[in-house]
């Protein structure tokens, strides 16, 4: 009878344990993915359709007149089409459950429905519009200037290369690498949830495009190898302590063990 416990003094046991540990860490590091969605085009004819969609999907929290309810949901009068395209287009709205913040999740509506909703909300009061394709084209932006603006205005929450970071009481600034340029632009324009507003007087439309170019430039990867989420010394320290020290301990055990 060979029970597992009998093998624990086997000479291969330390190696097996270290390999299992390394596998576990690699598994955790790999398990990160976020959904994103395509950009939607608005049309002013869809207000009526959008109102129906709104009444069916949004009004329970935001109210039938979209003026919000205290402590439940904000008023949507004047938030503009950009806010709707961001919130619904990234799956944040409709919100699944109340919590510290509404996280991005699989998108609940098709492109056409999103643009109808956006048209309806835009008709309630003047607000920021959805940017054009040219406004968000990273090819036209200056990534170097974008870096300077990003470091001043964004990096404290989203991390120096847009990897995201923690805020207070369960809130967090999400990673920007999977976010589409249009949604990044809209987020700056409308300031969703905890994020402050960065209107065109603060960061010009060209500046916003430069920031998008800087974030897109991060897609090329980091020259130094694994980024480990680019969330700073905690992830790097964990890697160093577990992987590097694990290898050193494994080598030490092997060097000290008698040959059979």
């Amino acid at each position: 009878m060979h029970s597992l416990a009998r093998h624990r003094y086997h000479r291969a046991a330390p190696v097996v344990l270290v390999l299992l540990l390394l596998g576990l860490i690699a598994g955790i590091a790999a398990a990160v993915s976020t959904a994103s969605s395509a950009e939607a085009a608005t049309s002013a004819d869809d207000v009526a359709e959008g109102e129906k969609l709104f009444a069916a999907n949004c009004a329970s929290c935001h109210g039938l007149d979209a003026e919000g309810q205290d402590g439940v949901a904000p008023s949507l009068v004047g938030v503009g089409a950009a806010a709707v395209d961001f919130q619904v287009g990234t799956g944040r709205m409709p919100m699944q459950a109340s919590g510290p913040q509404a996280p991005a999740k699989p998108v609940q509506f098709g492109e056409e429905q999103i643009s109808q909703l956006a048209a309806y909300v835009a008709s309630l009061g003047a607000g920021p519009a959805i940017p054009t394709a040219e406004q968000v084209d990273p090819e036209l932006g200056d990534a170097a200037n974008g870096m300077e603006l990003f470091r001043t205005n964004c990096a404290m929450c989203h991390g120096s290369v847009g990897g995201g970071g923690a805020l207070t009481q369960g809130k967090f600034a999400p990673s920007l690498w999977e976010t589409t340029p249009t949604h990044i632009y809209e987020a700056m324009l409308v300031g969703p949830q905890s994020m402050p507003v960065f209107n065109d007087a603060n960061i010009t439309p060209e500046g916003k495009r430069d920031i998008i170019a800087y974030i897109e430039a991060q897609d090329a990867g980091s020259p130094g190898g694994l980024r480990l989420g680019a969330i700073g010394p905690v992830a790097e320290g964990l890697w160093g302590w577990l992987v590097a020290l694990g290898l050193i301990i494994a080598s030490t055990v092997w060097i000290g063990a008698r040959s059979s």
Partner: protein
């Protein structure tokens, strides 16, 4: 080892620890498989050779990668080249190391050996000789007791005493030769100075700051400073935020420090001086990334969480004739963390602040 000549002589009663333990001696020598089985020895030899071969492959990989991988300006190609060269160097070094250890463990002699420790104390003759050498040296130099070489003695002591000054004087001099800590209490801000955007230094109109906006602000003219630009920036940076005026609790004595919901607070944490800039517009909380001090911007930037002890200093602002936001004055208290004479600096005419109790 030689002290255990009488291994069983000190067996004591059960509740007392023995004075000496028995030397268990060397464990039974167990021959390795490679010692008794020529096949196993050949196998181990092949394994060692394979590890050295791995090292050779690693060297070839590193050199090959250096010459064949085309490093362009694309980050991907740089990373791939670095990865391959690094992997090659790793295999080259690791192969030699693993091979050498495997060789030693399986094929080299493995007889247990005992090396007796020699006594630490030197012999009496050696000790006397060493002391005599020192005495002779002192005698020879003429420093001991007799004043035969008074000039040498005096100059040596003087030189040794003065030498540290060559390090200390420049060190202390570079600290600024300036112990005026009241400088810490002042920043660049002056009455009528415009608040401008960081980093480009363009002025900000009150109408630009919509509700929920956060502007990162430097004083007008900071970028044109000839010297100490970064020091001045580190003291003067401000976060400009517009809240819904209904949310804003105006502090007593600061009724005219804000403008229509627009407030300006120092970005330097009062704990240890990190830049506090993680602004959550829904809760009006401002979070310091270093130690999680949290300030409530809607309520005078008071501390609501974390190790900071004081609210962030507020910059009194107004709007000039052209609609741009300007400072009414410098901060009314020293910005940033505590230091030894902070309150003294505050009270010597710098401040008419009524906030002393916080």
């Amino acid at each position: 080892m030689s002290t255990t000549e009488n291994p069983t002589g000190h067996e004591s009663t059960q509740d007392q620890a023995p004075e000496h333990f028995e030397d268990p001696g060397l464990p039974y020598h167990r021959p390795r498989r490679a010692d008794v089985d020529p096949k196993a020895a050949n196998k181990a030899e092949r394994q060692v050779a394979a590890l050295f071969g791995l090292s050779i492959l690693g060297t070839i990989l590193a050199i090959g990668a250096y010459f064949t991988i085309d490093m362009t300006e694309e980050i991907d190609s740089i990373r791939f080249a670095n990865m391959m060269i690094g992997l090659g160097i790793f295999l080259a070094m690791m192969g030699i190391g693993l091979g050498a250890i495997h060789w030693a463990k399986t094929l080299m002699r493995d007889h247990e050996m005992v090396e007796e420790r020699h006594e630490l104390r030197s012999s009496d003759e050696g000790r006397e000789g060493a002391i005599q050498n020192l005495k002779d040296g002192v005698e020879d130099s003429g420093l001991g007791g007799t004043s035969r070489r008074g000039l040498l003695k005096g100059s040596l002591i003087t030189a040794v005493a003065l030498a540290p000054l060559s390090l200390l004087v420049p060190q202390l001099g570079n600290m600024g030769a300036d112990w005026n800590t009241s400088k810490f209490a002042h920043t660049m801000w002056r009455q009528g100075m415009r608040l401008t955007r960081d980093p480009d230094g363009t002025p900000i109109k009150a109408a630009d700051v919509t509700i929920g906006s956060a502007f990162h602000v430097i004083p007008d003219g900071l970028n044109e400073l000839e010297s100490h630009m970064l020091e001045e920036k580190a003291k003067a940076v401000v976060l400009l935020i517009r809240l819904d005026p209904r949310d804003l609790k105006i502090q007593e004595g600061r009724e005219d420090w804000s403008f229509d919901g627009i407030v300006a607070y120092s970005k330097i944490c009062t704990h240890v001086g990190c830049p506090v800039a993680l602004y959550e517009q829904q809760t009006h909380h401002l979070l310091c990334p270093c130690h999680q001090s949290t300030f409530d911007v809607a309520d005078g930037a008071k501390v609501v969480f974390g190790p900071a002890k004081r609210p962030l200093p507020q910059l009194p602002i107004a709007v000039d004739d052209e609609g741009y936001i300007v400072a009414q004055s410098d901060f009314h208290e020293p910005i940033g963390p505590s230091y030894w004479s902070r309150l003294k600096d505050t009270s010597d005419g710098l401040s008419n602040d009524t906030e002393g109790g916080h």
